[in-house]
Symmetry: C2
Subunit: 202 residues, 2 copies
DNA sequence: CAAAAAAATTAATCTAGTTTAAGAAATACT
DNA sequence: AGTATTTCTTAAACTAGATTAATTTTTTTG
């Protein structure tokens, strides 16, 4: 075992340890096991951690920056399904879990830093440190609740209101990504978003 | 410990054991621990295992029948967010996990049988039998993937196509629930669904 | 099995959001 | 700094799906 692990933990993984610490308590030996299986990566703007057709072998924890998940529809348009900013996990869980080829692209919207864990490493970790599996069970629960809420909103409030809610909930976000990506994520056209914005800023 | 546990397991819980068995292997003592914390319930048509304003203390595994999850919108309309049929878990995970009051109703669409597990029992079970937590981690992963796919479909295909896809994927289902519930779940009006159906049955 | 209640159909009118197209602003590149 | 590329805006014509309202069909219940 490398000596530094006994004294201090590599600081680049600290944001993830902090995030995990919100949900479960890992002791030092568990943290060491975890860190041994992580890798830290810088992703340049417009780079693709995942492209359509590949098997998604990694789950990415966003330390800094912003990633998006999207696919190209039959009609050739980009449809964004998720954004990942600080403290979010981003992957194609379907491809990741079942090792099937993905329909999605994961791309850095801006200069980003991520912590990546590959499928096998995570699988092993689940056995070695059950608390990690608990952590992901909780994260997935939250993801599921959020996705369900999104469906509910799509069905019950107008596109205009959904945009205004989004701006209210993630004001910083709206500055960071191009409007056309926001429109795609919200499921409306850029032109209609533009019309909404012209009306009045709130 | 009750004697029957050493010889045979109560058959009413078998469908759940079968389902769990698809994802993890429980040994006999783990199964006993699990069964000790479950309860079996019959739910009459139109009965409400959960009503708006209550804390959702149970997660329900549907053994037989069909439940729906819905809420009443500001404009007083029912919006269905989920159906649960055989082998599906149904709950308001937000309320269940955070013990907050729910915005939803869970109602039996037809005469149903469910296996219920309450929040504390499940919490304990996670500690006693980590494989149960793995099982739910996997279920939640699938739920999340399905919810994301639903969002993608809403954004990329027409209501008409979504209805046709649904009919193709769950043909039995379409016979079982009233059309107005299907319309609500798909996020369209009953009138429009009627128009689609009149066109031609595929 | 008749009456009431619940579910489904049809059609006319209306509207939130799309499409198409052209130009203006902002950003990146050499 | 100037040109090319990417992003955003505006406006007119159009459409998928909502709304309203009246009627029919099916299911439930006494």
């Amino acid at each position: 075992m490398k000596n530094y692990l006994n004294t201090s933990l590599p600081e680049q993984f600290q944001p993830l340890l902090d995030h995990i610490g919100r949900f479960v308590d890992l002791d030092m030996s568990e943290k060491e096991l975890l860190l041994g299986r992580l890798s830290f990566k810088k992703v340049k703007k417009k780079e693709y951690p995942l492209s359509e057709g590949q098997i998604c072998n990694y789950n990415y924890f966003v330390v800094k920056g912003c990633l998006r998940v999207y696919l190209i529809t039959n009609s050739g348009l980009e449809q964004i399904t998720q954004f990942g900013i600080e403290n979010w996990w981003i992957t194609d869980f379907d491809s990741f879990e079942n090792q099937t080829s993905s329909a999605f692209f994961i791309q850095a919207v801006e200069e980003s830093e991520v912590i990546a864990i590959d499928k096998n490493a995570l699988e092993n970790l689940y056995n070695e440190v059950p608390k990690v599996e608990r952590y992901f069970r909780i994260i997935l629960q939250k993801n599921f609740v959020a996705a369900q809420r999104r469906i509910l909103w799509i069905h019950t409030i107008s596109s205009e209101q959904r945009y205004r809610n989004f701006v209210e909930q993630f004001p910083a976000f709206v500055q960071r990504v191009p409007q056309y990506m926001l429109a795609s994520y919200l499921g409306i056209t850029l032109e209609f978003l533009s019309k909404i914005r012209a009306k009045k800023n709130l």
